[in-house]
Symmetry: C14
Subunit: 93 residues, 14 copies
């Protein structure tokens, strides 16, 4: 298998794995956060303003780790430095 | 195995894996969120408006991670940059 | 193994795996959601309308992730772009 | 190993795996749903109509994911597009 | 290893695996359902009719997933389309 | 390794695995069912007739999945269609 | 490695594995059943007759799955049909 | 590696594995049984006779599965039918 | 596979893995921290200032470990010392 | 690798594994038994005689499974029948 | 693959793995510590000074293990003694 | 790889593994025993003599399984019968 | 791959693994210790002196195991006896 | 790979693994012991002398298993009998 195919296949594999597995943790964490938010709302409806605000800050923080993974996937698919180097070099030949 | 077959098979594998495993986390998280929403509703029926609204915001947030996975799968199947490059190159030859 | 057999076998493998494993998460999540719905109904029979409605919205949301997996399987079996490309190319030869 | 044997063996493997593992999740989920239904009935016998109805809707929903798996297995065994293509091609030769 | 031996061995492997692992989930689920039925009976002996009926419906539903697995095993052993094709073809030669 | 040895060894492996692992689930499930039966008896001695009857129905149902596994093992050892085919063919040569 | 050695080694491996792993489930299940029996006796000493009887029926049922495994091991070691066939055939040569 | 060495090494491996892993389940089960016996004794000292008797019957039953494993190990080391056959055959040459 | 391709593929693999798996721990930890923050707020709304402040310090601390992973990924993709060495050396030739 | 080295290395491996892993179960089980003994003593100091006696019987029973493993290890190291056979045979040559 | 490429790739792999997996433990531990800190604050707001101080000392201690991992990664990437030796030696040739 | 190196490397591997993994079980078991001892002391300070004595007997019993592992490691490193045999034989040549 | 490269790569791998995985246990253990310290402080603020002192002794003890791992990593990277031997020998040639 | 390199690399691997994994158990066990000590102190401050003393004896006992692992690692690195034998033999040549 030549060099460019190698880089292409590896990039595809990692793009999928990084998003596929990397979003599992955030999803579960968000599920937990939302779940306790609902429990708290049922327990203390008067504090719904504070609870909702804290929940959204927390979800944003957790979502950020999912976005790190998605960003790495997109970099690997569309802005891969090693692939660009290989294409340049192949064009140079 | 030639270069294009390689890229094709890897793309198929990752499209399946990313969706197959990547939706597991969101599914479980949504199940948990819905479950606590129901518990909360039973405990505090008066707060059903706030609970339902928070639940839907949370489900949308969690669903977004499942959609990242589905998007990566679709990109790999129908808008794969490495496959397009290979097809172009093969056509050029 | 020639190129078309390769793509065919990989497509079969991923079609099975994606559905087989991808429906595990939704199934468990739905089981959990239904279970808490039943607990909530037993605890607060008066709120059965709200509980049932929220349950069905939640089940639909969770089922959607199972359907993503089934869709990917069906695409791999019956609308596989790489297989179509290979068939076209083989016919062209 | 020739091309047709390859497709045949892979189809057998995936037919077994998809059903064997894919029914594990639904089975456990149904077990959980039935279990809580029984607990709820013991706790609130008066709501047995609502509980039973919700249980059956939920079981049908969960069973649907098991049926997706069984359908994919049956497609792989008896309506496999790749196998049909190979048989046709072999007959054509 | 020739083509028929291959199909035979794979069929044996999958027949065993599908039944061996596929019955694990239903068995555990039934154990859970029976266990809660017993707890419920001890807690609310008066509702024994409803509980027993719901239990049997649930067990039948769960057992159905075990039967899917057993059916696939039996198909692989005694009505395997790929094996029949191979035997026919070998007889034709 | 010739064809018959192959089928023989695979049959031995699957006969052991199917029984060895396939009885694990039922055993645990029966343990759980018996355990809750005992708890229920201690909690509500008056309902011992109903509890015992429900327990035995449940154990029979769970044992059935263990018996599926044992049956598949015995078929593989003593009524294996692929082995019989191979013996017949070898005798015919 | 010749054919008979192959069958012999595989039979040894499966005899060990089937007993070694297959008794794990029953052992744990019996431990659980005995443990709850003891808890129940401490909680309701008056029902000791019913509890003990139900325990022994349950243990016999669970032990049966361990015995299935032991039987398969003994068949593989001392009444292995494939080994007997091979010995007969070797003697015939 | 010649045939006898093969059988010898496999027998050693399985003798170790069967005892090493097969005693894990019984050990944990006995630990659980003893633990609940102690809890029960502390809770109901008056029933110590019944508790102790039930405990010893249960331990004997659990120990039996450990002994199955030890027996298989000893058979593999000192009364291995395949090894005896091989020694006889080697002596016959 | 030549030396530069090797370094490129390994860098891609590790960039994906480090982010994909390394963000799982922080995500779950943040989910837990946010969840207890919400529970605490519902339990003691008066202490919301202290709770929110402690939560944000904690989230920052946990996020730092996710950032270590992202930093290592970015170093591997865009400031990889071994890749730079290889490029320099290749240019020198 | 010659036959004697093979047997020697396998014996060393299994001696280590059998003791290393086989003592894990008993250790955990004894830890559990001792722990509940201490809880029981704190709860019912008057029954310390019965508790201590039952504990020691139980520990002896659990320790027996650890000793099975140690015995198998020692047999493999110092009374290995296959090694003795090989040494005798090598001496005979 | 020549010697320097080998060292380079291994260093990249370990740099990623050490950070990626090594920060998982600390992240979870910090999540737990922060979570209980919040619970404690809600339960005993008067002791917030002591709780916050103890929390920060604990977080620092836990963060130290994450930093050990990050330090090892950085040493492997930028101050790797084996790589430096190899570069020196290659330059010397 | 010659015979002596083989035995040496395997002995090193097993010495490490047996101690490394074999002490995990006893460590956790001792941790559990000590933990409950402390809980019991806090609950019933008057029984501290009996508790401490039972704890030390239990710890000794658990430590014995750790010592079995350490003994096997030391035998493998410094009194290995197979290594001694090999050294003797090598010296004899 | 020559001998020195081998030792270098293995040393790098083990340095990373030992720190990366070896710090996971201590991190979790410290997280647990800190967490209970905080719970205890909230429950019994008057005993804060004793609690803090015991916590610090415990953290030091746990940190010691993390430091064993870090020390082994540093020895492997900067004071590796086998590497030094190899360098000396290579210089001697 | 020559004999000495083999022994060296294996020794490095096992030194790392034994310490890296072997300290995980003790660390977790110590974390648990310290945690319950703190809970006990908060619950019964008057018994702090007995609790602290028992804790230190227990920690020493648990630490001993971590030290077994560290000792084996140090023996493998700096007092390895097989390495010394090999060095002596190499020098003798």
């Amino acid at each position: 298998m030549d060099s460019m195919t190698m880089i292409a296949t590896i990039s595809i594999i990692m793009a999928g794995l990084t998003t596929g597995f990397g979003t599992m943790g955030p999803a579960l964490a968000e599920g937990k956060a939302v779940a306790t938010a609902l429990t708290s709302l049922a327990q203390q409806p008067d504090a719904s303003a504070t609870i909702t605000r804290t929940l959204f800050v927390g979800l944003a923080m957790i979502e950020s780790t999912a976005i790190y993974c998605f960003v790495v996937s997109m970099i690997l698919l569309f802005a891969n430095p090693f692939w660009n180097f290989a294409v340049t070099q192949a064009a140079g030949n």
